[in-house]
C-alpha cells in the first residue's frame, strides 16, 4: 500500500471518529470535481453558505472523487477559489459509496453516524446541463441548514443534482 492510501485511510479514520459524542453535529459533505464547471460555478455559493452557517456543529467538507484527484490538484482548487473548508480526496470512492453521491457538485448532509438527512443539489440554479436559471427559486441546502441551526432536523429528503457524473470505475478493464 503506498503512502497515498495510508493518508486516505488516516483521513477516513479521523473523520469517522472525530464527530463521536456530538450527537447534534452534522457534516455537510460536498462532492466536487476540480475540472467540473458546475463545481467551479458553485464555489461562490458555497463560500456564502459557509460564512452564514458553518459552526462547530455544522462542518463543511469538500470531497474530491475524481480518479485523477491528488492532494496537489485539490490544494490548487481550494486555493484558487478560496474555499474556506477542509477538502479531502476520495479517488477510491470510499465516501462516494458510503454516502451515495453520483454527481459533482452534490451535497450530503449527514449526522455523525453517517445517516443522511439530505442528498442532492445545493440550489436549483441549473435546470439541466447548460440551463442556468436567471432567478433561483429553491435554496435546498440553505433550507436544511436553517432547520439544523434551529435544531429541527428535517426528515430525509433527496433532490436531483445537476453536474458532472462521477465515473464509477470499480469495473474498469484497463
Amino acid at each position: 500500500m503506498n503512502w497515498r492510501y495510508n493518508i486516505t485511510a488516516i483521513t477516513i479514520a479521523f473523520f469517522l471518529f472525530s464527530g463521536s459524542g456530538l450527537c447534534a453535529s452534522y457534516k455537510i459533505y460536498i462532492f466536487m470535481g476540480e475540472t467540473c464547471p458546475v463545481s467551479r460555478h458553485y464555489t461562490l455559493t458555497l463560500k456564502e453558505l459557509h460564512a452564514q452557517y458553518a459552526s462547530e456543529k455544522l462542518e463543511f467538507i469538500g470531497v474530491f472523487p475524481n480518479r485523477l484527484s491528488t492532494p496537489a490538484t485539490i490544494a490548487a482548487f481550494k486555493e484558487k477559489y478560496a474555499l474556506p473548508f477542509t477538502c479531502i480526496g476520495d479517488s477510491t470512492h470510499t465516501w462516494v459509496n458510503r454516502l451515495g453521491a453520483t454527481i459533482t457538485p452534490e451535497v450530503v448532509v449527514a449526522d455523525t453516524s453517517h445517516t443522511a438527512i439530505y442528498r442532492g443539489r445545493i440550489d436549483n440554479t441549473f435546470a439541466d446541463l447548460g440551463k442556468r436559471r436567471r432567478v433561483i427559486t429553491e435554496n435546498d441546502l440553505a433550507d436544511v441548514l436553517n432547520a439544523l441551526k434551529d435544531e429541527k432536523p428535517p426528515a430525509f429528503r433527496q433532490t436531483r443534482a445537476i453536474g458532472c457524473i462521477i465515473t464509477s470505475w470499480q469495473n474498469t478493464k484497463d
Binding site: G33, T35, C36, P37, R40, H41, Y42, T43, L44, T45, N66, R67, L68, K80, Y81, A82, A127, D128, L129, G130, K131, R132, R133, R134, V135, T137, C164, I165, I166, T167, S168, W169, N171, T172, K173, D174
Partner: protein, 514 residues
C-alpha cells in the same frame, strides 16, 4: 418474447454491431474524442476538463457517455438533418454508440499501439500571417460574480482607405472565459463616444448587440469554430477610419479573470467583384416595416442598388405576454435573384425555437436553418455548405417560439412579466441577419469552405501525394452519409455529413491546385 426469438435478436445485433467484441479506447474511441472534443478540451481552452489521453478520458467516461448520448456535446444547435452548415460539430450515431458501448464495457484501454494520433492544434493563426492585427488596448477583468458579461470593445482600425476583407479571425486572449464574440465596424463614432461615457472601465456593457450602428458585421467567433474565408471575388469592405467593435461574451465565472483578445484581418489579394450585403429581419410592428428599415440602414444594407427585401410581414405585434408560449411567423419577400452565404438567428432568453425556410414562386422549398432548443449562449453565424440560391419572388419564412412561463428556467423574470423588443437581458428580440450577394449562374455549385491550406487534405492514403489512388479512395466512399457505418469523416471535405458532388468539386479544386 420467447427465448429463441431473443437469441436470434441478440445474434443479429452482434452481427450488425461494428464492434462485436466491445470497443477499446485505443482502437475505436481515441480518434472520436481527439478529433471532435480535444480542440476545446485541453489546457487553457474553454472546455473545462482536459481530454488529451486515456486517463483523463476514462476519468470522465460516464459523463462523456451521457453528454454525447443526449447530444449536449459537442455543442451544435442547428438540426443537422434539416440543413447543412460548415464546421458542424456533431457526432454520428455510430460514433455515439461506440462511446456508449465502450463505457458500458468498463472503458478498456486496449492496445496502446492502436491509439489515434493527436491532431496538430494550431498555436497561432490557423489562416497564416495576417495583414492587420488589432488588439484590445488593455486587459479587461471580469467581475467574477457567476453572471454572464457582455462587453463591447472599440478598437480604431486607423485605415486610411477602404480595404477589402477576405477573412477575419478572432483570437481569444483568455480561452477559458471567452464564450463567443461578435465583430462589427462603426464609422459614426457612436461606439467610441459610448466607451468614453464609462471611463471607469474599458469598453462598455451591451447585452443584445453592439449598442451602436454598424456599417458591416463581420464573421464572429465561437469556440471550436474555424474562421471562414470568403470565396474568390466575394468579401466585405472595411471602411477607412472605421472602429472595429467586438462584443465579447464572458462566461459566468466565480472569480475575477482577465482577457486581452485580438483580431487578425486578412485583406483580399484580388479585387472584390461582389461585396457581401445583409438582409435583416426585425419585425417590431405588424407590418414589420419601421424597425426593419432602420436596421437595414444600421447594417449598411443599402448596397447593390438597395435591399433585395421588398417587404416584411409578421402575423402579430411583437409582444410576449406573461405566462404565454407564443409563436410568430415572419415573412420576407425577396424581389431579385440572390445567393445566401450565411444565416444568423438571434433571440434572447425566452427564445425556444427557430425555423427558417424559403419558398420559390413554384412552391419549391429550401430549408435554411432549424434550432429546436434555442440557446442564447450558443448563438452563431452559420455559413451554408454552398450558396443558397433564392429566386426573385421567393418568400423567406421564419417561425419563432418564445416561452414566457415559469417552465422556462432561463426566464429573466420570476414571476414572468410581459416582454417586447429591446437590447437588455430582460428584453426580447426576433432578429435574423443573412449575408448575401447578387446571384450569378453557377453559384449553387460553389462550395463554401473553412480554413485555408492544411485545413482540407485530399491525401487520403497519407503518402504525401495527391494522386489517382486518392481519387479512387474518394470514389469508393462517394454517396455515403454520416449515419452509414462505413462513413469516414475525412472524405466529407465540407463536413456536411454527405460525401457528394459538393465534395467532389472541392476535391477537384484541391487536386488541380497541385
Amino acid at each position: 418474447m420467447r427465448p429463441l426469438t431473443l437469441s436470434i435478436l441478440a445474434l443479429l445485433l452482434a452481427v450488425a454491431s461494428p464492434h462485436a467484441k466491445s470497443p477499446t479506447f485505443s482502437e475505436h474511441v481515441s480518434s472520436i474524442i481527439y478529433n471532435n472534443c480535444t480542440s476545446c478540451h485541453r489546457d487553457g481552452e474553454i472546455g473545462p476538463m482536459p481530454l488529451t489521453n486515456y486517463s483523463e478520458i476514462a476519468a470522465y467516461a460516464d459523463m462523456i457517455k451521457h453528454v454525447t448520448e443526449t447530444q449536449y456535446m459537442p455543442p451544435w444547435k442547428p438540426d443537422y438533418n434539416y440543413s447543412q452548415h460548415i464546421g458542424a460539430r456533431t457526432l454520428t450515431k455510430t460514433e455515439i454508440n461506440t462511446i456508449s458501448n465502450w463505457v458500458n464495457a468498463g472503458f478498456p484501454q486496449g492496445d496502446i499501439a492502436l491509439e489515434a494520433p493527436m491532431p496538430k492544434f494550431p498555436t497561432g493563426s490557423v489562416l497564416g500571417t495576417p495583414d492587420l492585427v488589432l488588439t484590445m488596448a488593455e486587459p479587461f477583468t471580469i467581475r467574477g460574480n457567476n453572471e454572464d458579461q457582455y462587453q463591447v470593445f472599440v478598437i480604431p482600425t486607423h485605415l486610411t482607405e477602404d480595404r477589402e476583407i477576405e477573412a477575419v479571425e478572432f483570437r481569444p486572449g483568455n480561452r477559458r472565459i471567452v464564450h463567443h464574440a461578435l465583430i462589427g465596424a462603426d464609422i459614426t463614432g457612436t461606439a467610441r463616444q459610448k466607451d468614453l461615457e464609462t471611463p471607469e472601465e474599458y469598453g462598455y456593457e451591451s447585452f443584445g448587440a453592439f449598442g451602436a450602428p454598424t456599417t458591416v458585421v463581420l464573421p464572429g467567433y465561437t469556440p471550436g469554430a474555424k474562421p471562414s474565408i470568403y470565396p474568390k471575388g466575394v468579401g466585405h469592405i472595411l471602411p477607412k477610419n472605421s472602429d472595429l467593435l467586438i462584443q465579447v461574451h464572458y462566461a459566468p465565472w466565480p472569480i475575477a479573470e482577465s482577457d486581452q483578445s485580438s483580431i487578425n484581418i486578412f485583406f483580399k489579394k484580388e479585387p472584390i467583384e461582389r461585396e457581401v450585403g445583409f438582409i435583416s429581419m426585425a419585425p417590431l410592428t405588424t407590418d414589420g416595416e419601421t424597425l426593419s428599415r432602420l436596421l437595414r440602414v444600421l447594417l449598411g444594407e443599402e448596397r447593390h442598388g438597395g435591399t433585395p427585401v421588398e417587404k416584411i410581414k409578421i402575423n402579430d405585434i411583437f409582444i410576449i405576454p406573461k405566462d404565454w408560449v407564443k409563436t410568430f411567423h415572419t415573412t420576407l419577400f425577396i424581389d431579385r435573384d440572390i445567393s445566401l452565404l450565411s444565416i444568423y438567428p438571434h433571440m434572447h432568453l425566452l427564445g425556444k425555437y427557430w425555423e427558417v425556410y424559403a419558398t420559390d414562386p413554384q412552391g419549391n422549398r429550401t430549408n435554411l436553418i432549424r434550432i429546436e432548443d434555442w440557446d442564447f449562449n450558443w448563438q452563431g453565424n452559420y455559413t451554408f455548405t454552398k450558396y443558397q440560391k433564392i429566386t426573385a419572388g421567393s418568400q423567406i419564412h421564419a417561425i419563432t417560439t418564445y416561452d414566457n412561463t415559469t417552465n422556462n428556467p432561463l426566464n429573466p423574470n420570476y414571476p414572468p412579466r410581459q416582454l417586447t423588443w429591446g437590447e437588455k437581458t430582460t428584453d426580447e428580440m426576433l432578429l435574423l441577419v443573412m449575408e448575401y450577394i447578387p446571384y450569378r449562374p453557377g453559384d449553387e455549385n460553389i462550395a463554401l469552405t473553412v480554413g485555408r491550406g492544411g485545413e482540407i487534405s485530399i491525401d487520403f492514403n497519407g503518402n504525401g501525394q495527391k494522386d489517382f489512388a486518392d481519387f479512387l479512395l474518394f470514389v469508393q466512399n462517394f454517396g455515403l452519409n454520416r449515419d452509414d457505418a462505413s462513413y469516414q469523416r475525412h472524405f466529407d471535405l465540407n463536413g456536411d455529413g454527405h460525401i457528394n458532388f459538393t465534395d467532389f468539386i472541392i476535391f477537384a479544386n484541391q487536386f488541380s491546385a497541385g
